[in-house]
């Protein structure tokens, strides 16, 4: 328990560090955002007033602190005129959108990647294996926007089955989720295959087979269970890929999620928006990592024993 508490504490610290780091980075942006916003004819008094409103006259740690304080009290607004848009409101709209997209993509990746990897391992070296792994390399190599645009043209335009952009209907999430899931499923199937091959010759798999259990039972109950830890770890790590992939895929499909919020904030020089997005992205990513560790320890007790040391 103490082990997990310490890990959770570390996660929180890392997220705060990321926020501070981003504040630091934002300060490095060439040009004064207040002056740029007001244009060339601006009076220096106006610029100074705007700088004050945007917190640009404060030292960095104070900026980061003000951000966290207002975020905590729910008062945080966009840091560009007219300073009206509530950051929490935008987050409340965007986070569920990206969450839905990421979960569906992950489900899609697992549903395609795991069976494909297990099948490849069982038929290692045969035509099925070669075809599956060739497809996997292809899916890893193709950039997400190319896959997304191809899917738009195929399913959205040619066949007309699915909506191609925005979030007007509930089916609109399917194409972006599939786009995001395909690349992940390719990686997962490769890891699954390697992991299954690794345990195939192990004693407990051999003894299960020697006892005359069905091939299905040997594969899933004995081999897959012990092969699951590296697969889970990779799946957890891949979640970072889901988050970054979401930024790209949201742009392709015009999906109003966190990635879209981040990009528009960057474009508008809305520092509070950027800070908030970075904080949410980082926290989510770290939390999923923590969760992955917990699930791995639950699936395979050996993991728990070995992570006690550090």
């Amino acid at each position: 328990m103490r082990f997990w508490l310490r890990k959770a504490g570390g996660t929180l610290l890392a997220a705060l560090g990321a926020t501070l780091l981003v504040s630091l980075f934002l300060d490095l942006i060439p040009g004064d955002p207040a002056a740029i916003l007001l244009g060339e004819q601006a009076q220096s008094l106006d610029v100074a007033a705007l700088r004050r409103q945007m917190w640009l006259d404060r030292p960095l740690p104070v900026q980061a602190w003000l951000f966290l304080e207002e975020l905590a009290t729910g008062e945080l607004r966009s840091s560009v005129p007219p300073f009206q848009e509530r950051v929490w409101g935008r987050l409340a709209e965007a986070v569920p959108k990206t969450g839905l997209l990421a979960l569906l993509a992950m489900a899609c990746a697992l549903a395609i990647g795991l069976p494909l990897g297990v099948l490849s391992a069982r038929r290692a070296g045969r035509a099925v294996d070669r075809a599956a792994m060739g497809l996997a390399v292809l899916a890893i190599s193709a950039p997400a926007f190319l896959v997304g645009q191809a899917l738009i043209l195929a399913f959205g335009i040619r066949l007309g089955w699915l909506p191609i952009a925005g979030d007007d209907s509930s089916a609109a999430v399917l194409l972006p989720a599939l786009t995001l899931g395909l690349a992940l499923s390719a990686l997962l199937s490769r890891v699954t295959r390697a992991s299954m091959l690794e345990v195939q010759g192990k004693e407990w798999v051999l003894s299960a087979r020697a006892r005359g259990l069905s091939e299905r039972k040997v594969t899933w109950r004995y081999a897959f269970r012990s092969a699951a830890v590296p697969i889970l770890t990779i799946a957890g790590l891949q979640f970072g890929g889901v988050l970054t992939g979401a930024v790209v895929v949201e742009k392709v499909f015009n999906w109003p999620g966190l990635g879209t919020y981040l990009l528009t904030s960057i474009e508008r020089r809305d520092y509070n928006g950027v800070r908030a997005c970075v904080l949410v992205f980082t926290l989510t990513y770290l939390a999923v990592n923590l969760l992955t560790d917990a699930v791995c320890a639950w699936v395979d007790p050996r993991v728990r024993l070995s992570t006690k040391a550090p």
């Binding site: 980075f25 193709a142 950039p143 335009i157 988050l243 790209v248 981040l262 950027v274 990513y285 990592n289």
Partner: protein
């Protein structure tokens, strides 16, 4: 001193994947090298009457906004995308190897500190960090390279460190030390040649990752400066007309896929050959 790449033990023939990979890489390299010959018209040539035309004999990849030739853009874009990719891999490889070797050689506190930094960077999704960095610095080649290298160097550092830790105890290094060779001489003359093989494999895998990252950043408008024809930026320009002129976005997108596929195939084959377990 043993050769870095132990070819004798490997299978005598290259796999089909390796040959396909090399063919794809050569094709993209030729595209970049002979861009002026391949492009039917110079990349900046405008022809307002010929906007958004589908592929034809005069324009094999069709035309885009204001009649710019897509093939010309893709060919010159190969120079930008491959150039940025190679530069990023080279810089991150150089930096990572230096850090890894130094950490292993120095040991103790320095080694610990380097490993903590590496762990943190490994734990964070690289492209996300790259998005944050380019968001801050703005679209410029220097910022793009910095963003790409920010996490890419880590894998080289880990690899170099692990290799040096084991090489350090080998007789030829101990002998060199006993003869009074300086650490720099040992690093350059004795360690680096033995590191070269694994590092090259790592770089072969690193390159497609960097090319994809550059493409994603440029597609998001955070990569190359506006007006530079990198593949990702070209896809971005074509996206608005995906429905009425899909070739403008799809050809540069396919070029990215071809290049990364080539390096992935080659990397897989190289790793299979060098992996002593097989």
């Amino acid at each position: 001193m043993s050769a870095a790449l132990d070819w004798d033990r490997a299978a005598p023939r290259w796999s089909a994947g390796a040959r396909v990979g090399v063919a794809l890489i050569v094709a993209t390299a030729l595209l970049a090298l002979f861009a002026p010959v391949i492009a039917p018209v110079p990349p900046g040539r405008l022809d307002l009457a010929a906007s958004w035309l589908p592929p034809s004999r005069a324009h094999p990849f069709g035309t885009g906004d204001n009649g710019v030739d897509v093939l010309a853009n893709v060919a010159y874009g190969a120079r930008v995308s491959l150039g940025v990719g190679l530069a990023a891999v080279f810089l991150s490889g150089l930096f990572g190897t230096a850090v890894g070797m130094a950490a292993a050689w120095a040991g103790g506190l320095w080694d610990d500190a380097a490993m903590r930094v590496i762990d943190v960077l490994l734990a964070f999704p690289g492209l996300l960090l790259a998005i944050f960095i380019t968001a801050v610095i703005g679209p410029s080649l220097g910022g793009l390279l910095l963003a790409l290298c920010a996490t890419a160097w880590v894998s080289y550092a880990r690899l170099a460190r692990a290799q040096v830790l084991s090489l350090q105890q080998r007789e030829f290094v101990l002998a060199a030390r006993a003869l009074g060779a300086s650490p720099l001489r040992i690093a350059v003359r004795h360690l680096l040649p033995n590191l070269a093989g694994p590092l090259v494999v790592q770089a072969t895998f690193g390159l497609p990752g960097v090319i994809l990252a550059e493409a994603a950043l440029s597609f998001l408008g955070l990569g190359v400066p506006p007006g530079t024809p990198s593949w990702g930026a070209l896809v971005d320009q074509g996206t608005a007309h995906l429905l009425d002129a899909p070739h403008v976005a799809l050809f540069p997108g396919a070029a990215i896929a071809v290049a990364t596929l080539g390096f992935n195939f080659l990397g897989d084959a190289l790793r299979d050959r060098l992996d002593p377990r097989r």
